[in-house]
């Protein structure tokens, strides 16, 4: 029969409580000395001397709280001076010290030291440290919340302003369009006349023929332009654009890919060509054939056109461009305003920032709400480890984990993705990165924005003295 004496200091007076080995105080009443014991699941009743006799009689393991006899039992470590805990019965007398009070190894020959006080001291230290951090972090967080609030208000004000100015611009554009069309009327007639001659007396403008001619011209023109204009997809390292600039720039059509130009695919990627094709369709070349001809074909001599019409056109285009810019601005502002920056917008300050961590081989870069990337330290192209997906913390703590998805694809595998775990810290820093599974990255990130109100140091389950 394995009994042990437990000395407990309950406040001032010392109390001795006798109970079978491995039984927590709370279960003490079930183990009444010298009375038949009923398994805690009620399955059977056994003589008291079968408790802790190193043979499993109860299916629930309750007759052997202090031995390893039952496969599903638990052993209670009192751990005076630290935190009491349960360990699986299989850890009792297995030669490995599990309880800090060493009570689990009473018959294995293992030499275990009582480390509870030391553990408590360390834990207290680290708890204190954490509490300090949390405290300061929480203060910082309040500032962040205030800033976010101000920032939001500013943006809303700005949005209002811009929206108003948009109305003016729209009016302006409409006015100019009318002016332009009026100015163009004589010109149009002249042009049709000219075309008739040019195309051998065709009554009407044959648009199909135009398109054919135009597409040939376009092809030639485009190829020249491409060789002359520096492409964004140069072979050299992609220009490091500061995120601030990027944000101010018009957001591209593709919302999920805010930095398409940076995205130089890796060797294993086979869609490089596609990317280029897409680039070709973008931007400047989307001009109507007619305008093109006007600009490029010497046979349509400028003299055909009135300078008045040209001026009207220019003014109109200018106004239109201004309108587009305002639209972009509105879109950006709306996007930012509607973004989920946490319950009190405390994460708003991370928007349009980037944080780097350099490891042995790579420089990792986290641009919150935007994307995560990895770049070899010693040259080589950048790999997209995921673009902003969602908050992905567990229920009740959704804002503790960020998920970045749909990064560069892996060979025969998924697209790269990154999970960012946020912990409370005074600084906003990426503290570690790893790739636990192929192409699934894990990043640890500290920020004051996750700090909770300083926890009470006197947490109930940690007791210096019992």
């Amino acid at each position: 029969m394995f009994w042990y004496l437990l000395l407990l200091w309950g406040g001032i007076s010392a109390v001795e409580v006798q109970r079978p080995r491995g039984v927590p105080l709370s279960k003490r009443p079930f183990y009444e000395e010298n009375k038949p014991f009923t398994c805690l699941d009620g399955s059977r009743t056994i003589p008291f001397d079968r408790i802790n006799d190193d043979y499993c009689d109860c299916q629930d393991g309750s007759d052997e709280p202090g031995t390893a006899a039952c496969p599903n039992g638990n052993f209670h470590c009192t751990n005076a001076g630290f935190r009491p805990t349960f360990i699986p019965s299989s850890h009792v007398n297995d030669g490995i010290c599990d309880c800090c009070d060493a009570t689990d190894e009473y018959n294995s020959g293992a030499e275990c030291q009582n480390t509870c006080r030391e553990l408590w001291r360390k834990e207290k230290e680290s708890m204190q440290k954490l509490a300090e951090i949390a405290k300061e972090g929480f203060l910082l967080k309040q500032q962040l919340i205030q800033e976010a609030k101000r920032g939001l208000e500013e943006k809303q004000t700005k949005l209002g302003e811009v929206q108003n100015s948009k109305k003016d611009l729209e009016t302006n554009v409409e006015a100019l369009r009318t002016a332009k069309e009026a100015a163009e009327q004589p010109e149009k007639e002249a042009k049709e006349r000219h075309l008739k001659e040019l195309l051998g007396g065709v009554d009407k403008v044959n648009t199909a023929a135009f398109e054919t001619i135009w597409s040939k011209i376009r092809e030639k023109y485009v190829s020249e332009v491409r060789t002359q204009t520096p492409s964004s997809n140069t072979d050299g390292p992609a220009p490091v654009e500061t995120p601030q600039e990027e944000v101010r720039e018009p957001v591209s059509d593709n919302d999920s890919e805010p930095y398409p130009d940076d995205d130089i695919p890796e060797e294993e990627d086979e869609d490089e060509d596609e990317d280029e094709d897409e680039d070709m369709d973008d931007g400047d070349y989307k001009v109507t054939g007619f305008d093109y001809i006007l600009e490029c074909l010497p046979i349509f001599t400028k003299s055909l056109f009135s300078s008045a019409a040209q001026k009207a056109r220019n003014e109109f285009e200018e106004a239109e461009r201004a309108l587009r810019e305002v639209d972009d601005q509105i879109r950006n502002l709306e996007k930012e305003i509607s973004f989920d920056f946490g319950p009190s917008s405390e994460f708003a300050y991370l928007y349009s920032q980037c944080y780097e961590l350099t490891t042995g081989e790579y420089v990792y870069r986290l641009c919150p709400f935007n994307r995560v990337s990895q770049k070899p330290k010693y040259g080589g192209s950048e790999t997209n480890l995921g673009t902003w997906g969602k908050w992905a913390g567990p229920e009740g703590n959704v804002y503790s984990v960020m998920k970045y998805e749909q990064g560069t694809g892996c060979w025969q595998g998924p697209n790269r993705s990154t999970t960012v775990k946020l912990t409370c810290g005074k600084e906003t820093v990426v503290t570690s990165t790893s790739e636990p599974s192929r192409c699934e990255y894990l990043m640890e990130f500290t920020s004051p924005a996750v700090c909770q109100e300083a926890p009470d140091l006197e947490v109930s389950d940690i007791h210096e003295e019992l």
Partner: protein, 944 residues
């Protein structure tokens, strides 16, 4: 060189899922196989020259002559102890020595006397000792028949396919013309002298004329394509020795079932090869191998077993060159009806299986094992090549592997995960990424900065680690291992004499010549704790890629004209992996001063590899068919002595569904080597990553494994002593029941556990064959009793792994499952006594320290447990051995019992005591509570 790798990767890793067959030769693309296979049966040019016969007490020699080219061969015939016959055929006077495989036989096999019973001009009859066994040597055409009484057991060259490509000078080159002139001059001179020296004066004339004929004939012999040079894909084989193949046919009258010749991803029972390629034995790194075909894989054991209800025989073809095995059968094409018709008409020919072995070089050296029982074959083969090494107990536990555990923190957290989820494991593995740039014996300085701390952390939990050490060595002048090998001249050489270099994981790599004893000794010394930095005694080794794998070599292996000392790689290819494994194992033994048992896993193997450790079935895939094939693949290995076999649990390539993963754990837990492994590109799959239900299922079956560790350990001890396989084909235990002969969806562990894993997706039931007319089988989970000789339908759920204990057996188990096997060392035993219809049972209990060689010094407990007449007793079967254990008997569970009035324990000192017990009448199970005697003592227990 980077583009080369990229191209290789692109080729090999191309999206389609399957082996790229075009990377590997068919028989037609292997010129010697094509030449030999083109020979027609019944036209043997070989004649035995009976007058040259010489018989000493231990051997008979006889010359054979090829009547087409007059080249003479020397036949040696030995009667070996233990009912074996050895037949060796070599050229009588080869141009240069031909390779004879060293280091595979554990010793020169002891012989028994042979005697001539009768002789005439047509042949000789020799007695093979007792049992009325004889060998009949027929002269023309030459053939050997081994007979017992009136039965022919096996015939050699009965189909006349003996072929021996003699070494010759090349004729189409300038150098040949010079050397041949010199040679013929030299021959003439030699002949003049030898005719005086040799006592063959009377044959001189004949020999001379023969020689004339030979030379003229030789002139006519056509030079076929591929004899002197051979190209496969972009690789050319210079073949400086020209054609050198050997081949021989064997007929097995009365045999319809042949087994063995691993490694192939095929059924247990070998198929006939008439309509396709022969089975190929050539150690190859096959990327994403295909199932159910005769293509070569990572290892080769040239041993075939033939079985019928009367007898088991075996053929061990000791040749390490590329080898092809053809199998044909006169009943293969027949339907059951056809067979019946034959039987009714009484006109049927006896069923017969014909086998033909073809090797590219070396000699014919074949051991004919005559059984007669399967266990006799195991002991005969073990007497030639040794038995399974006795592994440390911990290596029979569960192994957690992945390419790769990324860093020390990863290792720590996976280790902690096992504790958190209360799943035992013994070994965590590190694949190639743990090294500093694929330089073996080193650690990545960032990811594994303090390996000893990591190893100590594992050791604190009584756990171990395996780190990979492959035989390709990065060519890098800053790498100590490379510099030493280069400066000592230990690398394999290319045909031009420089160090052979090939492409493998580290990029450009050299391949140490493991065939050289001094190289192996040096390699072994690299495992000492002061040489292998960061290693500790709980770090063990894994040899991968030792076929050897050469990414840019022909068929992803070494060029055949690479040079190992005085031999070509062609001669030694299939031995390379065995030597790597051996040298590594010797290193692990030496580092502990010969005290600790090693554990080394290898991918490539040959006959005899069982002496060095464990093997696994290589890079399989997460597919249901790969789960299924793990059974016949390990069964086939077990038949040829390699018991410590397993397949990557979960499948290496691709990702298993949770269902497949759970089923694979359930199967793997009942196979000898139990390791989960996964490819770098697959998502993580530690046992707890598939939701609580699947975690619980996996936990449960790993825990089952641990409860059976005493039985596994005892079986490995038995395998070490006898050569009997641990994981057994059913026919081995039921050799007279033809219903068992082709079973390979279930298996036996020892002879007492029958396992029928669930290997079908979405299975709701399996039909298990319970063998043995006299047997009863007890479901180990429900204790339900079933009769033998029936097909039993068993409904299954996801938690089911149908396992049965044979009535008549006693299995000791340890039910207190802990974190690792070492944590369970002193735990008590529960004896599971399953009664047969005669209400008897027997079993064994083997105990030692679990990790040293002290068992060789009689430090162990070996007891026989038996139950009869209602008394269960434990008696010492090794009284000369000494060992003490803290373990005791905590429980005896008797299956198929009736309720006793009382149970009395009588201990060694005669003390009697009454024991408490429970009886469950619904399943007739008697549980005797806490008898408490020490497991090493004599005792008995009476039920009254």
């Amino acid at each position: 060189m980077v583009p080369v790798l990229v191209v290789w990767l692109a080729l090999c890793l191309s999206g389609t899922w399957a082996v790229d067959r075009s990377n590997f030769k068919t028989c037609d693309q292997s010129s010697f196989c094509k030449r030999q296979r083109a020979l027609k049966p019944g036209e043997s040019p070989y004649r035995a020259l009976l007058e040259t016969m010489e018989l000493t007490n231990t051997r008979l020699t006889l010359q054979l002559i090829n009547d087409n080219n007059k080249v003479r061969l020397l036949l040696e015939l030995y009667r070996l102890q233990g009912n074996m016959t050895r037949v060796k055929i070599n050229e009588l006077k080869p141009l240069k020595p031909r390779y004879e495989v060293p280091d595979v036989l554990v010793r020169e096999p002891p012989t028994e006397p042979l005697s001539v019973l009768s002789q005439d001009e047509n042949g000789v009859v020799l007695s093979l000792g007792v049992e009325s066994q004889r060998v009949i040597v027929s002269a023309q055409p030459f053939r050997l028949d081994i007979v017992e009484g009136h039965n022919v057991l096996m015939s050699l060259n009965s189909r006349g396919l003996l072929a021996f490509e003699h070494l010759r000078m090349r004729k189409d080159t300038f150098s040949y013309k010079v050397t041949s002139t010199v040679a013929s001059l030299w021959d003439n001179i030699k002949r003049v002298f030898s005719s005086q020296a040799e006592p063959e004066a009377e044959n001189k004339e004949e020999a001379d004329t023969a020689h004339q004929a030979e030379t003229t004939k030789e002139e006519e012999e056509k030079v076929e394509e591929g004899m002197w040079e051979e190209t496969f894909k972009s690789h050319s084989d210079s073949k400086p020795n020209g054609p050198s193949a050997v081949s021989l046919d064997f007929s097995l009258p009365g045999v319809e079932h042949v087994y063995g010749i691993p490694e192939h991803a095929d059924t247990l029972r070998l198929k006939t090869t008439d309509n396709g390629d022969p089975y190929r034995l050539y150690n190859l790194d096959v990327f994403q191998y295909e199932l159910y075909n005769p293509m070569a894989l990572y290892g080769a054991v040239p041993v075939m077993l033939a079985h019928n209800t009367q007898r088991t025989t075996g053929i061990f073809w000791l040749n390490a060159a590329e080898t092809w095995v053809d199998i044909s059968s006169n009943t293969a094409g027949k339907t059951v009806f056809g067979k019946m018709l034959d039987y009714v008409q009484g006109s049927s020919e006896t069923p017969q299986t014909d086998v033909r072995w073809i090797s590219e070089s070396g000699i014919i050296d074949v051991f004919i094992m005559l059984g007669p029982t399967p266990k006799d074959i195991f002991s005969q083969y073990a007497s030639l090549t040794g038995t399974q090494s006795f592994p440390p107990l911990s290596s029979l536990g569960y192994h957690q592997c992945r390419w790769n555990y990324n860093d020390q923190e990863d290792v720590r957290s996976v280790d902690a995960g096992f504790d958190e989820h209360d799943i035992p494991y013994d070994f965590i593995w590190l694949d190639i990424e743990h090294t500093d740039g694929k330089r073996y014996f080193t650690w990545d300085p960032h990811k594994f900065a303090s390996p000893k701390d990591m190893l100590q952390g594992l050791k604190d939990k009584k756990r171990n680690m395996v780190a990979i050490v492959d035989p390709h060595i990065k060519v890098d002048s800053n790498y100590k291992i490379h510099n030493e090998i280069r400066s000592r001249g230990f690398y394999v050489k290319n045909k031009d004499g420089g160090d052979y270099e090939g492409w493998c994981w580290p990029g450009n790599a050299g391949y140490p010549d493991f065939t050289q004893p001094d190289m192996r000794a040096w390699w072994a010394s690299m495992f000492s704790y002061d040489q292998y930095e960061g290693s500790m005694d709980n770090l063990y080794t894994w040899n991968d890629m030792n076929e050897p794998s050469v990414f840019n070599g022909p068929e992803v292996t070494m060029h055949k004209d690479a040079v190992h000392g005085s031999w070509e790689h062609r001669d030694v290819h299939n031995l390379y992996g065995l030597y790597v494994h051996r040298a590594t194992m010797e290193g692990l033994i030496q580092r502990s001063g010969g005290v600790e048992r090693p554990f080394v896993l290898t991918r490539a193997f040959f006959a005899g590899s069982q002496r060095y450790g464990a093997v696994w079935t290589g890079d399989n895939a997460a597919e249901w068919d790969h789960l299924k094939i793990s059974i016949p693949m390990c069964l086939s290995l077990g038949l040829v002595g390699i018991s410590f076999c397993g397949a990557d649990v979960g499948g290496f390539f691709k990702s298993p569904s949770p269902e497949l993963l759970v089923r694979w754990y359930q199967t793997g837990a009942y196979q000898p080597f139990f390791r989960a492994h996964a490819h770098l590109d697959t998502p993580r799959r530690e046992p707890w990553l598939f939701g609580p239900e699947n975690t619980a299922l996996i936990r449960e079956v790993i825990r089952q494994r641990y409860t059976f560790l005493p039985y596994w350990y005892q079986l490995f001890y038995h395998a070490y002593r006898t050569g009997e396989p641990v994981m057994r084909a059913l026919w081995v235990e039921y050799p007279q029941d033809p219903a068992t002969f082709a079973v390979d969806d279930e298996f036996l562990i020892g002879r007492d556990l029958l396992v029928h894993p669930v290997t079908e997706e979405g299975a709701r039931g399996v039909t298990a064959f319970l063998p043995g007319k006299e047997e009863v089988w007890f479901d180990i989970h429900t204790f339900q009793k079933h009769n033998g000789a029936q097909n039993l339908y068993i409904p299954v759920t996801m938690s089911s792994i149908p396992v049965f204990q044979r009535g008549g057996s006693i299995i000791p188990r340890k039910l207190r499952v802990r974190r690792s096997s070492a944590c369970m060392e002193h735990d008590p035993y529960t004896l599971f006594v399953a009664l047969n219809t005669r209400r008897t049972a027997e079993g064994e209990l083997y105990i030692d320290d679990g990790h040293t060689f002290n068992f060789d010094n009689k430090e162990f407990i070996h007891r026989r447990l038996f139950f009869s007449n209602n008394v269960l007793s434990s008696v010492n079967v090794a009284p000369e051995a000494q060992f003490t254990t803290k373990s005791w008997i905590e429980r005896v569970v008797i299956l198929g019992a009736s309720k006793p009035r009382k149970v009395t324990l009588i201990t060694a000192d005669g003390h009697k005591s009454q024991l408490d017990f429970d009886f469950d009448a619904s399943v007739s199970v008697l549980t005797i509570r806490k008898p408490s005697m020490n497991a090493g003592e004599d005792w008995s227990m009476a039920l009254q």
